[in-house]
């Protein structure tokens, strides 16, 4: 390592702190807003810390205004179902792309990749009419179906990278020992792939938990998900910022926890996919 001037080190530290403040301050501010008492929230002076924290907003979120609890339930149903469906079909497809060379493989892979490129607003309009005809509109089914489609390409991409990293010899050895191909997959590949599947699952969960554009169009008061419920906290008379920020904090906590556990593996998969295609 080259000798480093102390000035460079200080500069680097300052730069890092500035960037972290920029990235994290909005979250601090959101949290602070959610626990500020009302007189500090809309007072003459803006306070950067509160000595009288109150969790009134969190309580009100569940007792008054919109039914936030049921929105959380709806989001959970949609996100969990989407994650399970997408993981099943994507693992199968990724395995086929990785282990078989078959006519049409390239064409199919292109279709999967292209799928990510269509503007969501382009699909929104025809899907709305299709969902209405299928009587899926305003049910969780419509969102599960839509989110499954949008998360498949990226999931296949991620899983393909992970499976490609597992040597073929593992399955071949199992097959020599008398396993069928399917059995070799279940007994050998699946356990090894497990952490990667979890990481991919976190990605899918995050996407379906956070999506707004489709949720806004495809749900009603009874079936709406958290992002829509958040937006609905903005009423005729303006925004109730304490409620809204409390709702926001509750929204990101589950995904943050999941992300922290899965982030290392997820990053490995993302870059493997980016480099290998």
């Amino acid at each position: 390592m080259k000798y480093e001037k102390p000035g460079t080190k200080a500069l680097r530290l300052i730069l890092l702190i500035v960037m972290l403040v920029f990235i994290l301050f909005p979250f601090y501010w959101t949290f602070l807003t959610s626990i500020k008492p009302e007189n500090e929230l809309y007072g003459d002076t803006v306070t950067y810390f509160t000595v009288h924290p109150t969790f009134e907003a969190y309580k009100n979120l569940f007792t008054t205004t919109v039914n936030f609890l049921s929105a959380m339930g709806n989001s959970l149903i949609v996100a969990v179902s989407t994650t399970l469906v997408t993981l099943c079909v994507s693992t199968m497809a990724a395995y086929a792309f990785s282990r078989y060379d078959f006519p049409g493989r390239k064409a199919l892979m292109s279709i999967f990749l292209c799928n990510n490129m269509f503007p969501t607003v382009l699909l929104l309009i025809p899907l709305y009419t299709i969902m209405r005809k299928l009587h899926l509109l305003f049910t969780p089914g419509s969102l599960i179906l839509a989110y499954t489609t949008f998360t498949i390409p990226f999931s296949v991409w991620l899983l393909l990278g992970f499976i490609n990293d597992l040597p073929m010899s593992l399955e071949e050895a199992a097959q020599v020992d008398g396993c069928t191909r399917g059995k070799a997959f279940i007994k050998i590949i699946l356990p090894l792939l497990n952490p990667s599947i979890v990481a991919t699952g976190v990605y899918i969960f995050m996407q379906s938990w956070n999506e707004y554009t489709f949720a806004m169009m495809f749900t009603n008061t009874a079936t709406r998900t958290i992002p829509v419920a958040l937006k609905s906290l903005i009423g005729q008379l303006g925004v109730q910022w304490d409620l809204l920020t409390a709702g926001g904090i509750l929204t990101i906590i589950p995904v943050c926890i999941m992300f922290f556990f899965a982030q290392k593996r997820l990053v490995e998969g993302l870059t493997a996919g980016a480099v290998k295609g």
Partner: protein, 292 residues
């Protein structure tokens, strides 16, 4: 060493994913194309009829559409450009050994897992003209004399939403670049140091060429996501004031909400064609990699 033997197994494995994608993406895309040639307004369901290129002609004479296209280009160039630069800087800063690195890396990724709606609303609160913290900070630093209603005046609204999208995209770039940096061989830097290369030379002649694939793919993905993004702008300004933050995707969304589906579809097709220019080189590169 892949199985070459003819077998239906791979087709069975790929079938479920393919069927879902065809039903939920390709059929709607065809429908959208058909709809774009019709006067299709749900407020006037009896007047739905084929009008050929009518919607497209309307678009190209609609100043709102043309402005939205221009705004989308600015939105993508500035948004993705700064996401890349700042993400790169963050990745370089995090690419060293220091205590608490893992925790800092994880924490700095939170904007990426935050829903767009919440991002829009959080920043709307920060920019607030009466109680917003940004105004308070700028006033205390004596940079401004009186509070600025950032999102409700034309001159500051668009820069305001661009800063927000930059903030949202930094982590993803940083995440991808940081991971790619782990694959760059230490030997290259040592050799360069022996030859007396400066830090800047190392950056431009070793680091960037080594991770250019990652930069390329991440950039393309972000371009597509940012161009398509509706939720951040919609929840900050809904495209206002006076359409000054209305990008093409927001305009389409507003038209679709107003149930003018034919016109919205035609504009969505235009957006898709614009993105295709970006996608084609990406697909090409992908298969070139595969061959080698």
């Amino acid at each position: 060493m892949k199985t070459k033997k003819r077998s239906i197994a791979p087709y069975l494995l790929v079938a479920p994913a393919t069927i879902i994608i065809v039903c939920v993406v390709f059929i709607p895309v065809i429908q959208a194309i058909l709809m774009s040639f019709q006067s299709y307004d749900l407020r006037r369901p009896n007047a739905i009829k084929f009008i050929g290129l009518g919607n497209y002609i309307e678009a190209f004479t609609d100043t709102q559409f043309l402005n939205a296209v221009l705004r989308t280009v600015i939105w993508v160039v500035l948004g993705v450009g700064f996401q890349f630069i700042l993400g790169f800087v963050l990745a370089l800063l995090l690419n060293r050994q220091f205590r608490g690195r893992g925790a800092i890396r994880a924490v700095s990724m939170i904007p990426w897992v935050t829903p767009g709606v919440l991002i829009g609303l959080m920043w709307r609160w920060i920019y607030d003209g009466n109680f917003g913290v940004l105004n308070d900070i700028l006033l205390k630093l004596h940079i401004i004399d009186s509070a600025i209603p950032f999102l409700s005046q034309k001159s500051t609204a668009f820069p305001g939403v661009i800063v927000t999208i930059i903030w949202q995209g930094i982590p993803f770039f940083a995440l991808m670049i940081l991971a790619a940096l782990q694959g760059v061989s230490r030997d290259l830097y040592e050799a360069a140091e022996i030859d007396g290369a400066t830090k800047a030379q190392e950056l431009f002649y070793i680091t960037i060429p080594s991770i250019k694939n990652t930069i390329y793919v991440t950039g393309l993905l972000r371009i597509i996501w940012v161009a398509n993004s509706v939720d951040v702008i919609f929840n900050m300004t809904e495209g206002g004031p006076a359409y000054s933050t209305q990008t093409l995707s927001v305009y389409i969304y507003n038209k679709a909400n107003a149930l003018n589906l034919g016109y919205a579809s035609a504009m969505a097709i235009c957006l898709a064609l614009m993105l295709l220019v970006v996608v084609i080189p990406y697909l090409r590169m992908n298969f070139k990699e595969e061959k080698s």
